[in-house]
């Protein structure tokens, strides 16, 4: 064992070295190619436009609209936009319309005559800047206009759909918010379907997503911070938290982890998830991944931090605790009594999904005495003609199921159905009739699969799939003893996990009595008086009616957040 691990270590070290050299090379390349210089604009419009064309490789979707301002004395100006990212209507109506009308030209003409060209005919930088200020302050009826003077900012804004107005002679340019283009509208959630409750979900636009939360929390304490991650992709990332509630340490931790990310692109929130999670080598999710604004809102209210990624219809919330993955949104919208039952059921199903095939293997190969006589005889009768050992049979069926699931998940809907029919016939009928598997095994596999689907969180369901195979192997080697060993390891591992510094098994380990009302049981909402203690450290009261023993840490609860 030791020898083997040493060998692998050596190999790993070699690999690391190789990777390091590769990375260095890549970094060098990146330094030359991808870093947009923090250079100032030139005075000459022509030079600026040439530079722009050079950097963008003359891409045809960068549009240059050249106009002239003024009547007799004219100044050249170019409006640069990115095709598809801008709202052309907006540019036509509010930029071109105001810059190209007669009254405007006359006004500029006067202005030029009066102030700028008193000494000679040449436009100085300062005078061009003055005109640009005039345009910015008096002439553009657009909500958001900004003055920038370096290229990195210009590229950043240009490529997010803003129009850039260059003016000949000026060392700065105007950025106008004209984003538009095609965008998916808000639709019903696909992954987290609920029966009660709101029906909106996040879209690919970060602006829309953040507005969905703002709509729900009308409070100035809802703070948003912006990051740009992805060396090449320059993806917009925002974190959101409620200032008075969120634990500053956790927020700072999130900031630090985000700043540490070194990657060329962020395609989806799940990219971030992999970079900022506490432990990489675990099958349990430590970051919550949701497409529902109401879930994010509720999590923010408990002091969690939400992370949005532009282009991803999912938001991340941290810290995420183990039990969170067994709670669905409907838990809070439906009556509490049925929810208590359902939550117990889910925990039970979680265990069934993990240990049922393993238990079958253990009982049929080690502990035949554990099953009732008639049951074990019935199983024995079925196994009589099956040529494989129980473990192999179970493995075969579980893998067949995974194959079907994998094949079906990516196929177009029409073909997907065909796969499931073939699968049902092959597994359910033919395999039994051909005596390759026993009917009991089919029942076990189907029960396991259904239990797996009943876990609300997809991430947690995936975790059970991996653990299931490990436990099956342990059961085949050591029987129930092996399963218990495996579960103990899992338990130790779960307790060692942290999500942004918060113990993963909270409020069970460590026990937080006042948070137990929303764990496996869910008390009626009026009993949810406190936020999770480990997450929202400073402001843990939810309701304004303060209990006598809680009077001591009074005060900060000015905001009337009531879950």
């Amino acid at each position: 064992m030791g020898f083997w691990s040493r060998q692998t270590k050596k190999r790993k070290n070699d690999k690391n070295k190789k990777q390091q050299t590769k990375m260095e090379k890549l970094e060098e390349l990146a330094g030359t190619a991808f870093d947009i210089p923090y250079e100032q604009l030139k005075q000459s419009l022509e030079e600026n436009i040439d530079y722009l064309k050079k950097v963008t490789g003359n891409s045809p979707d960068i549009l240059y609209r050249e106009i002239e301002i003024g009547k007799r004395y004219t100044i050249k100006s170019t409006i640069v936009t990115t095709l598809g990212l801008v709202d052309t209507q907006l540019i036509n109506d509010f930029i071109l319309n105001s810059l190209m009308t007669q009254p405007f030209h006359e006004k500029i003409e006067e202005y030029i005559k009066e102030k700028v060209r008193q000494e000679d005919d040449k436009l100085t930088n300062s005078s061009a800047e003055l005109i640009l200020t005039e345009i910015e302050k008096k002439l553009l009826p657009i909500s958001h206009v900004k003055r920038v003077s370096n290229w990195s900012a210009i590229f950043k804004y240009l490529l997010t759909g803003k129009a850039v107005i260059f003016l000949d002679g000026a060392k700065s340019a105007l950025i106008t918010s004209t984003q538009g283009g095609e965008q998916r509208s808000i639709t019903e959630p696909q992954k987290e379907v609920s029966i009660f409750g709101p029906k909106d979900s996040f879209t690919e636009s970060i602006v829309t997503n953040i507005s969905l939360i703002r709509k729900r929390i009308r409070n100035p304490n809802l703070w948003v911070e912006s990051f740009t991650i992805g060396k090449v992709s320059q993806t917009d990332i925002r974190i959101m938290y409620i200032n008075e509630i969120a634990n500053e340490e956790i927020v700072e931790e999130v900031r630090q982890r985000l700043n540490k990310i070194d990657i060329d692109q962020i395609l989806d929130a799940s990219f971030l998830q992999q970079f900022i999670q506490d432990k990489v080598f675990t099958s349990f999710p430590t970051i919550y991944y949701t497409e529902r604004p109401d879930v994010v809102t509720a999590n923010l209210m408990e002091g969690r931090v939400a992370i949005f990624v532009d282009g991803s219809p999912f938001a991340l919330t941290v810290p995420a605790l183990f039990l969170e993955f067994f709670q669905s949104v409907d838990d809070y919208y439906a009556r509490f009594d049925i929810i208590i039952f359902l939550r117990f059921l889910r925990i039970a199903l979680f265990f069934i999904a993990m240990i049922l095939p393993a238990t079958y293997v253990a009982i049929t190969t080690f502990h035949q005495e554990m099953a009732p006589t008639l049951l074990i005889i019935a199983i024995a009768a079925q196994r009589e003609a099956v040529p494989f050992p129980a473990y192999f049979e179970a493995l075969l069926m579980e893998i067949t199921f995974e194959v079907l699931r994998e094949a079906g998940s990516r196929l177009p809907r029409a073909i997907g159905q065909a796969v499931s029919i073939v699968g049902a016939l092959v597994i359910g009928q033919a395999a039994i009739q051909a005596n390759i598997v026993s009917p009991a095994m089919v029942i076990i596999v189907s029960l396991t699969a259904i239990s797996n689907f009943a876990i609300p969180s997809f991430d947690m369901a995936i975790a059970t799939r991996i653990i299931r195979f490990i436990l099956m192997t342990l059961a085949a080697v050591m029987g129930i003893y092996g399963i218990v060993c495996g579960l103990m390891f899992m338990c130790i591992h779960l307790n060692s996990l942290r999500s942004f510094g918060v113990p993963y098994m909270e409020p069970f380990a460590p026990v937080t009595v006042r948070s137990l009302g929303d764990t496996v049981v869910r008390l009626p909402l009026m009993y949810h008086k406190y936020r999770p203690k480990m997450i929202a450290k400073k402001n843990t009261k939810r309701v304004s009616a303060v209990n006598s023993e809680q009077q001591s840490d009074k005060g900060k609860n000015k905001n009337s957040e009531k879950g």
Partner: protein, 402 residues
């Protein structure tokens, strides 16, 4: 450094857990033969002859074979040996699978062997970790254990199942047999104050055809096995059979029977009224006076009137009370019968001795060795029965008797 420790910890745990697994006993279902019942007889050449009733799983739950014929659900293999373990191992010459005892639920001992003593049979049954000491034990009355196990039974495919279920319900609803398991017998064998009783099973009808499938192809089975009576043991040996009233008397005293039917003679008509007992509860109290034990049995029974085949108006209080006292008399009589039998054969199957041991330990120490032989036959035993009737069914007066 930290990771090294980590690895060491994991390797350590894995290794120790592998070493700890004591029952390293991987066996596929197709490699084991479930023994459902064991029959123990005297051997012809060697002291013991064992009959193993194995389950043939295919014939229990499976569909009919393509030929349309289902063989019997169980198979019986036999072997002889000096003791049970060697007899068990001798079966490997005949059976293709390893015998598996965890689901054995019945042990049948032949009457012949039981009269010689059952002590030697019980050691392996309690020593083996695989065997369940909760398995029931019965005596094959007037036949060999092998013959009893060989009878094909129609309702329950597995003969041992039938015997067990019969025991359970006949004890509960009729009260003339009793269900005892190996644990009970073992604890009773080492005690002087509570001797073993085991129910006997008898083969009725055509013994030859009992073994053939012809037996279950008829609507009326040619041969059946039925719970018959209770065997009284003196130490390890069977001494006599308690039948009918005496058998139920034992169950009354031990509190085994819960809902038997009791017949009452009325107006010179035998068995005119039948009472269904709902619950009964017996208490045994002991006293020692002048170095002699006085044992009091207090029995409380409640019942409903189940059948009245005579003229009786139960709406009249005096009739009702009279019926209650008649019921008390009948129960008392049954208990008396049992005690008479116990005194005659000098065996305390009623656990009187145990009660004395608990309440008068010093006295018990003096008498325990000759309790059964000298003290019990002369002991004074008082019987108090308090019977009460609750319901009379849908009627107070019979419709057919005016």
């Amino acid at each position: 450094m930290k990771s090294k420790k980590h690895y060491f910890f994991i390797i350590n745990i894995v290794c120790t857990s592998l070493l700890l697994s004591g029952c390293w006993s991987y066996r596929e279902l197709t490699d084991i033969a479930f023994v459902i019942a064991i029959g123990i007889d005297e051997g012809e050449k060697q002291p013991y002859k064992l009959s193993f009733q194995l389950i043939n799983p295919k014939n229990v739950a499976g569909e009919p074979q393509k030929s349309g014929i289902i063989g019997p659900a169980t198979v019986i293999y036999q072997s002889e040996g000096d003791n049970l373990f060697t007899a068990n191992r001798a079966t490997t010459q005949q059976v293709s699978r390893r015998l598996y005892y965890a689901h054995t639920s019945l042990v049948v001992i032949s009457e012949k062997l039981a009269r010689k003593g059952i002590r030697d049979v019980l050691d392996i049954l309690t020593r083996s970790p695989e065997f369940r000491p909760t398995a029931d034990i019965v005596i094959a009355k007037d036949s060999s254990a092998e013959d009893l196990l060989n009878v094909l039974t129609p309702l329950d495919q597995i003969n041992a199942d039938k015997i067990q279920k019969t025991l359970k319900y006949s004890e509960q609803l009729y009260g003339k047999t009793t269900k005892t398991n190996i644990n009970d017998i073992v604890s009773e064998l080492i005690s002087n104050g509570n001797l073993p009783i085991i129910s006997g099973f008898k083969i009725e009808g055509d013994r030859k055809k009992a073994k053939s499938s012809e037996n279950i192809l008829n609507q009326k089975p040619l041969s059946t096995i039925h719970a018959d009576s209770i065997a009284l043991f003196k130490n390890e040996k069977l001494v006599t059979w308690a039948e009918g009233a005496a058998a139920r008397g034992i169950n009354w005293i031990l509190g085994n029977t819960s809902q038997p039917a009791v017949n009452i003679d009325w107006a010179d008509k035998k068995g005119a009224i039948s009472i269904q007992i709902l619950r009964s509860n017996s208490q045994i109290k002991t006293e020692v006076k002048n170095n002699k034990p006085i044992i009091t049995i207090n029995l409380k029974a409640e019942g409903n009137v189940a059948e009245v085949n005579t003229y009786l108006d139960l709406s009249r209080e005096e009739e009702f009370i009279k019926l209650q006292s008649e019921l008390e008399k009948v129960i008392k009589n049954e208990i008396n019968e049992a005690i008479k039998l116990g005194k005659k054969y000098k065996t305390d199957v009623f656990s009187f001795g145990d009660h004395i041991r608990i309440s008068h330990p010093k006295y018990w120490k003096k008498v325990q060795d000759h309790w059964n032989d000298d003290i019990l036959p002369t002991a004074e035993i008082k019987i108090n029965v308090d019977a009460s009737l609750r319901l009379t069914g849908l009627k107070t007066k019979s419709d057919v008797y005016q």
